[in-house]
Symmetry: D2
Subunit: 134 residues, 4 copies
């Protein structure tokens, strides 16, 4: 278990949404960022790298966007609904594109199979949180 929930519980401000749900979303975003970073590197090390270049670039984008989203959701001192919603939308879009590309390679590349699942799951988390924040 991560300390994300303990940190939210000791935060002086109350979050706009249920803390357990928010902590789970932040954990999912950080896990997806790490998985995409690892998938990009596994693709780079693959004999079939030439067929995986689009996958690598989408992995790198998804990692950076998930990370920026997790950090933003961890900052309540400057909470701004418009920023949260638009970043969650961008993040869901990046996760979906990366999931779809990874899914194309899931049969041959085990790392792409794991990564596709992480990205689909993270896309859902983003979309659910957008609804909860409305």
């Amino acid at each position: 278990m991560t300390t994300t929930l303990s940190m939210l519980e000791s935060h002086p401000r109350r979050a706009d949404v249920d803390r357990t749900r928010l902590a789970a979303a932040i954990d999912s975003l950080n896990a997806c960022a790490e998985t995409c970073t690892a998938c990009a590197d596994a693709c780079l090390s693959d004999d079939e790298v030439a067929a995986l270049t689009r996958c690598i670039a989408l992995n790198l984008n998804c990692a950076d966007i998930c990370l920026a989203t997790a950090r933003m959701l961890s900052r309540h001192a400057g909470e701004d609904g418009a920023i949260s919603r638009s970043m969650l939308e961008a993040c869901a879009t990046a996760c979906r594109a990366c999931a779809q590309e990874c899914a194309r390679h899931a049969e041959r590349q085990q790392h792409c199979r794991v990564c596709a699942e992480a990205c689909y799951s993270c896309e859902r988390v983003c979309r659910d949180l957008m609804v909860a924040l409305r």
Copy 2:
């Protein structure tokens, strides 16, 4: 002058938009990220820090989002119009919120005055690029 344009010119793929414009957008995003990082720290070091906490958090969000956007725009191997547009939208939103908050402190805090200008300018760059990418 940065080497952003030289790098775009030596890239094997042609970008979807005019390279000079794209290089200028990437430079503006990176400059805004750096300015927001510096403004957050100047606010932290200010005698009036208690009045600047929202500004600091918006600075930190804006820095992370501008940076992720600059990196995404630098990656043509996985170009995806939907990701680009939604990130530019999120980035413009974050820049505007940060610019407005910094502008409130611009008379007393010189660093907020410089940062407000950088953020307003970067918001415009994002919106112009969204139009060009359509």
Copy 3:
């Protein structure tokens, strides 16, 4: 449980160290980065923010350095012992400085208590991995 270990196990290259240990180190670094990001924001939202500014800046540095270290350790395609050792040294240094500062506030600020533990634990992980990589 995170998918860090599954990703290492599906990576085409064998890592230089035991995979279970490496996965645990990456998870610890990512968790510490998230905890420091959250601690900085909790400090910003604290009534006593003026006494916590050094803590906030050290949190922000520690978050960025842990994250860059986790990403580097996730990349085996360009493995380079000299980079790994020097980043782990820098990361251990940043974790220790942040842990010591958070520990000073641990009695009054619960978030600093949790963060001090995360940073001390991450410092140990970095130092142990430096030995294992030698």
Copy 4:
């Protein structure tokens, strides 16, 4: 010209080193981070990608490490000589490894030639600043 120097001049704290030099170092680190991000993507898009995978991974590491170093140098509220020196050492190491790898491809890949120069120059900047900070 960037606004890095204006931001340093409006910062409430005096930096430990000459501001013009520090601003130039931060600009060099941010420029190197951007150049490495762009070089990784140009390599990915290259017909010879299979020969460039080590270059790509070193580019990605160098980009993340330069960026974390630029951010740390922009934060004076938590200035800590030990962190600065160890990060500058790690950054110089990453820049040199990336420069050497890019230099191997500089004759065939124009983007690697530009990137090698940016990395060698950034390594020098890090080493000079380490001396100045002593």
